[in-house]
């Protein structure tokens, strides 16, 4: 049996990728299961999904803690958390990034495959949805499943939902990624502050879970604690406001799910500490004053 952990962001389709991979393995006569961790449904929040593949029926029902492969759909994730956590000694990480494997900095030097799935998706699909392209990269990097099966699975799964043409385009994205995937070894040594989590005992837990704002060892919890959650880290696209075009209608302010737009001198301004780059503001702006620009991080 081998196990894969997918890291993505809410709305990127990590779960669909994990499921399509399971289907591809199934098409090759394997037994495969796939499941997500459901959390607060929030676009852009870090999410995980899992896939297990074996020759015989898989009975275990737990989440995956020691994966053989880690797949990262969104490169901002490798900046904020140690995606290698629990990865097996000889495991491998597959990352969506324009960088070469040797340029990627992680906590440990590990086998690493990279592919610029975002560019491939933009080019072929016209949208930065990377969940099909990344599947091609997995096929190439692991050799565990053929690209043909991946294509078939994509056409079956995505085609059924989005139509035949979209299915085929997505299969092409996977094929292109398959061809462009680079395999090497990532740099190690990047340090991550272990993220502390507030895990109160029965004694420490406020009665009935009634929580006001509370300072804990793990930082602020309760009402208003999201101020410490800098959702700006989630962003791959950045809204840029053209003040000339802005007529101050406040529609962006109204629709922004993070509440990070304010009006200054009658014009919209974005607080980039919290803007997660969802693009809703750009979509809603009646004068097209907001442009989403791809943000490439240092």
């Amino acid at each position: 049996m081998y196990e894969i952990r997918f890291h993505g962001r809410g709305g990127q389709g990590g779960r669909m990728a994990a499921e399509a991979y399971a289907l591809a393995a199934f098409l090759e006569g394997k037994y495969a299961v796939s499941f997500p961790i459901f959390g607060a449904e929030r676009r852009g929040a870090p999410v995980k999904a899992f896939t297990r593949v074996d020759d015989k029926k898989i009975r275990i029902k737990t989440q995956i803690y020691q994966p053989d492969y880690v797949v990262v759909l969104d490169e901002t994730l490798i900046e904020t958390e140690d995606v290698l956590e629990g990865l097996k000694e000889d495991g491998m990480v597959i990352i969506n990034t324009p960088k070469k494997p040797e340029e990627v900095e992680l906590s440990k030097p590990v086998k690493c495959a990279t592919v610029d799935a975002t560019s491939i998706a933009l080019e072929i699909l016209g949208r930065p949805i990377t969940n099909t392209a990344i599947l091609g990269a997995i096929a190439k990097a692991t050799g565990k499943v053929s690209i043909e099966s991946i294509e078939k699975a994509i056409i079956e799964k995505f085609g059924a939902r989005l139509g035949k043409e979209a299915g085929e385009k997505n299969a092409l994205a996977a094929r292109t990624a398959y061809e462009k995937t680079l395999v090497g070894v990532a740099k190690g040594g990047k340090e991550f502050k272990p993220r502390k989590k507030w895990l109160p005992t029965v004694e420490e837990m406020p009665i009935g879970g009634a929580i006001a704002t509370m300072q804990t060892e793990a930082g602020l919890v309760g009402i208003g604690s999201f101020i410490e959650n800098k959702t700006g880290d989630w962003r791959t696209f950045k809204p840029i406001i053209n003040k000339e075009k802005c007529i101050g209608c406040k529609l962006c302010w109204f629709y922004c799910p993070e509440g990070c737009i304010s009006m200054q001198d009658g014009k919209a301004t974005v607080n980039y500490d919290y803007c997660k780059g969802c693009g809703i503001c750009a979509n809603e702006c009646p004068t097209k004053a907001i442009k989403m620009e791809r943000e490439v991080r240092a």
Partner: protein
């Protein structure tokens, strides 16, 4: 705030006793929806409000679900609340019952036990309250109207105790109590105020000090909360004993905590009853005792928390143990029977179940005598059956 009320003796229904009990406790908010045979409780209380005896907020709601929701919200805002319901009304509240207990809000609700349809009936059965076993409510049953009034007062004292903080559901049998008048002694409002101090909430919803309760909570936290509530329910056992003692010394009426033993001391066989059948069973025990039969009676007051230890202690000294149930868990047995068997695990004695009075059928002395007869026989020879449907046409016993 309520008007000063003197101690007095009244001849009143069980419903009036419940409403008057809530009045004496100076509740701040009452939200209720009428349903037979609970209607009188709501009507009586609204009359108190109308007459200016209390300035409690009386909220008319469109359903029982809303009644419980309103009580939960008011209680979370720091108010002492009261409501009452019955049968289908309780079933409609089901969802919100779990909210009240998990948020640790000591709402008090009188439940008039009425058969849960189908078929539609308005008479006494315990199949409405017993399915709420796992809702986190303290659930108890009353034997007479005096106990109804006294229990409402004690319910607040128990529920609001810092070690407990759980909602309480005193139950009274439909019509047999709800619509029956009998003499009841009511303490004065001053005496009640001395016994029951002002409600001090552990957390209040206050716009100036924002707080979240019951919000989206991931698996990392919920299990600890469940454990907390379970411990609170366990701790309620001691609190109930303490409160009944305190009540006895202040008002002179002793309810003996979780159960009351009646002539169990040297008994060979014991029957455990709940609700109004207890009164009838006391009569039967006295008569059988006169005939030299060594029979005893346990009045079960609390279904939750379940007094397993107390029951076991008595069972250790008898040769057969009977459990009366006014509800059936289809495919198993009466709810109290199931619970008792669990409490008596490992003891070597016949434990039998008697079902009678379902749908409000009168449980007469002859029925109770039959139960004792079966128990006395079981002490001599191993019984063939465990569950006896007393007075059920076409079912042999």
């Amino acid at each position: 705030m309520i008007e000063k009320l003197p101690a007095k003796k009244m001849v009143i229904t069980g419903d009036y006793a419940a409403a008057y009990g809530a009045l004496l406790c100076d509740v701040d908010v009452v939200a209720a929806y009428p349903i037979t045979p609970q209607t009188l409780i709501v009507e009586e209380f609204s009359t108190f409000v109308n007459d200016g005896i209390t300035d409690a907020e009386f909220i008319m709601v469109e359903s029982e679900h809303s009644a419980m929701s309103a009580c939960i919200a008011a209680q979370a805002a720091g108010a002492r609340t009261f409501t009452a319901t019955s049968s289908q009304g309780l079933a409609l509240m089901h969802e919100m019952l779990f909210v009240a207990s998990a948020l640790r809000l000591p709402v008090v609700m009188a439940v008039v036990n009425r058969t849960l349809a189908a078929p539609i009936g308005i008479w006494c059965e315990h199949n409405d309250s017993m399915p709420e076993r796992d809702s986190g409510w303290i659930q108890m049953s009353c034997e007479d109207n005096q106990e109804v009034l006294d229990m409402i007062i004690m319910a607040y004292k128990i529920g609001e105790n810092k070690d407990v903080l759980l909602p309480v559901m005193p139950c009274l049998d439909a019509f047999i109590l709800s619509h029956t008048v009998e003499p009841v002694e009511a303490p004065s409002s001053d005496e009640v105020a001395e016994f029951l101090p002002k409600y001090e909430p552990q957390a209040i919803l206050d716009p100036d000090k924002p707080m979240a309760i019951g919000t989206f909570t991931p698996p990392e936290y919920i299990q600890e909360l469940r454990y907390q509530t379970h411990v609170a329910m366990e701790k309620a056992k001691d609190v109930i004993k303490k409160v009944t003692k305190e009540f006895a010394s202040k008002f002179g009426r002793d309810y003996h905590g979780l159960i009351e033993e009646y002539r169990c001391d040297d008994a060979d066989v014991v029957l455990m009853t709940i609700g109004t059948v207890t009164g009838t069973a006391r009569e039967v025990v006295d008569e059988l005792r006169q005939k030299g039969k060594k029979v005893g009676l346990i009045k079960l007051r609390f279904y939750r928390p379940f007094p397993a230890e107390e029951i076991r202690k008595i069972a250790e000294n008898v040769e057969a143990f009977g459990v009366y149930d006014r509800a059936i868990s289809y495919g198993s047995g009466g709810p109290l029977f199931i619970e008792t068997r669990h409490a008596l695990y490992g003891l070597d004695l016949p434990v039998l179940n008697f079902l009678a009075g379902l749908g409000g059928r009168d449980v007469v002395k002859g029925d109770v005598e039959k139960m004792y007869e079966i128990l006395l026989k079981a002490k001599e020879e191993k019984p063939k059956e465990e569950i006896y449907w007393i007075g059920t046409r076409g079912v042999e016993i």
